[in-house]
Amino acid sequence: MRLKRIVPTPLRSACLLAALLILPAGLFAVVRQPLHIGVLAYLGEEVAEVEWAPMAKRLAIALPSHSVELVLLDHEGMRKRATEGRLDFIITNPGHYVELEAELGASRILTLDSDGGGNPAHAIGSAVITRTGRDDLTRLEDLRGRRVAVVSKEAFGGYQVVWREWQALGLAPDSALLELREVGFPMDRVFQAVRDGEVDAGIVRSCLLESRPELDGVFKVVGARPQEGYPCEVSTRLYPDWPIATLRHTPPALARQVAIALLALPAGENEPTWAVPADYQSVHELFRELQIGPYAYLRAPTLMALAERYWPVLAAMLTLLVGWVLYTVRVEHLIHIRTSALRDALAERDAIQERMRKDQEQADHLARLSVLGELSGTLAHELNQPLATIGNYAQSLVRRADAGRLTEAATREAAGEIAGQAERAAAILGRIRAFAKKRIGQREVREVAALVSEAIDLFRGMLAQAPEVELQDRLPPGRTIEVDGLQIQQVLLNLLKNGYDACRELPETRRKLIVMLEPYPAGIRIAVRDHGPGLAPAIRERLFEPFLTTKPDGLGLGLSICQTIAEAHGGRLSGEAASDGPGMIFTLVIPDHD
């Protein structure tokens, strides 16, 4: 045990003093060259001082031309000083040595032989300890999912040695353990954490447990494996003991001198003794397997390794990315929906406005146009009165005559009333004709095709399910005529409406209307053709008589008024059966105005 060894005794000090005193006085006159030995003070400077100072003194005696200085350092401090060339030798643990071997060209010259006669190549291992009675923890792999205390993850004997064993068992400490707790130096804290139940197990250097008699029976070693000739229970393979190594700039002669001097040191009880350099291959293997230290490069760049190492970060980033994508898509989607809704709303508004505008135009147009419209409501009511009255009297006369109670006075009364009501009806009709005639005279020059197209549009606009209207224009382009445009459109509307009414019950193919524009001697001809059932000859002859109608709700005034309009323009309106198939053709002839 190293700790046992470093305890100085009065006797040993006395010997050293004596040795110094017997040195030849002349040697002291020589200028001593400084020789710096860096020592890893892993248990603190005080402990290290106690441990290594005797050796330094003896070395100084053996090397009279040098002044030996111990430089107590931690891992980083040693690396730094060595890099700066301020150390000639280093004494450190095998793990650290191997690291510096790669980094700084450290080269071992001797290996510590702790037990003086043991096997320096198999000197260091680790014990995984748990409380006695934890029967569930007997093998190293039983620690999966447990809490384990270590002094530091950087510690060689305190952690990395066990790590290698776990790795060999397929147990990755970072993920397989519930917790890997770093309790820090000194290693006693590991015992404490295990004893207090803060953790299930702890890792200590081999033989540390055996050096503490007070802990006897408190702990047991997990996964202990037999090691021939090894005095302690150990859970791992064994590794070489600490080396003393030269650095690149250390003169080989000096190295040889120091090696010889150290080998020549007497092997006393509890004294650190040195043996020939051990093989540190096993340490290399450990580092290579764990991909740490000089073999950390093995771990670095593979994508898989990165992914494994950084998977939480990657997962988080991926989640963020997916979230961002989803968010973006959703926002885009919403924007799309809202945009189209807005567009629809705007389009609808435009459509409504357009329709309102058209409706308004149409209403205006019809208001100006519609002789019939102006007439139908009041006209019907007005005509109803005399007609109903005449009917009543006439029927009453028949009734009384039938009953044999018809008196002359009654006959005279009824006949007089009937005549009066006939005059009343005639007066109403007279007003209509006068009204229609009064409208003519506002002549204007209009392009025929445009005038007719306008009437067709108007007609189609009035109906929910307008039929197809084909315009066949055989007039020279731009042919104009001087007419009362509104009146002529009124006639066309009437003719189109008649054609539509005639075909309303027919299949759609026969509902088509054709408007033909043709030249006529000194004028034009506008014909409207339907494909309806046509009219009986008897009706055809009386087409333009007032009150003649074939429609259930018709007044029989439309064509009569249309004819009046045509005549007022010096033209005429006629209707005949179509020669090619069913239907009627109504023809409006309008001469050019003088």
Binding site: N384, Q385, A388, I390, G391, N392, S396, A410
Partner: protein, 210 residues
Amino acid sequence: MTELDANLIHVIDDDDAFRRSLVFLLESVGWQVVPHRSAEDFLQACPNQPPDLGCIVLDIRMPTMSGLELQQRLRGEGWTAAIVFITGHGDVELAVQAMKRGASDFLEKPFKDQALIDAVATAVRRASKDRADSARREQALARLARLSPREREVASRIARGLPNKQVARELDISEKTVHIHRQHVMEKTEVGSAAELAHLMLQADPRALD
């Protein structure tokens, strides 16, 4: 011709010629007709429903008070008169409204003479029946009014056909007392049987025995 004599037909129309023609037509089949130039004229002539009112032939559209308004007003005053509406062109909606408010019929000008005559006859019959029903109800109520409260309780049970024994139990009186009440009920209401009594009570109130 008692129906024709007892029922005067009131014609209300603002068109003089047409109104005269209506009178001429209705008189042709023997009705007694009273013409009015407006709703106001009619109300002045008949402040209350005349007992000999057969029906009212009413133009739906008139300048000041319309036919509909007159109908509303008469209903409000409790008139039961049957009204035949005459509508001009395009007044069908108004006519439907009038029918919903209890008009007897409506005719659209110009109409066939028979249509008007049938409508008036139907309305008059309805009015006569209403009058008769009303008279019978008055009479029945008067007869039942002669009963004392206790007799009325007994009467309604007899009318439902309950035997004296059960009536006695329900009213908690002796069977003999029921028998005496029964006799008084029959005498006072001048009926000879439980069935006649039931008929009388239903005349007074169609839901009397519900």
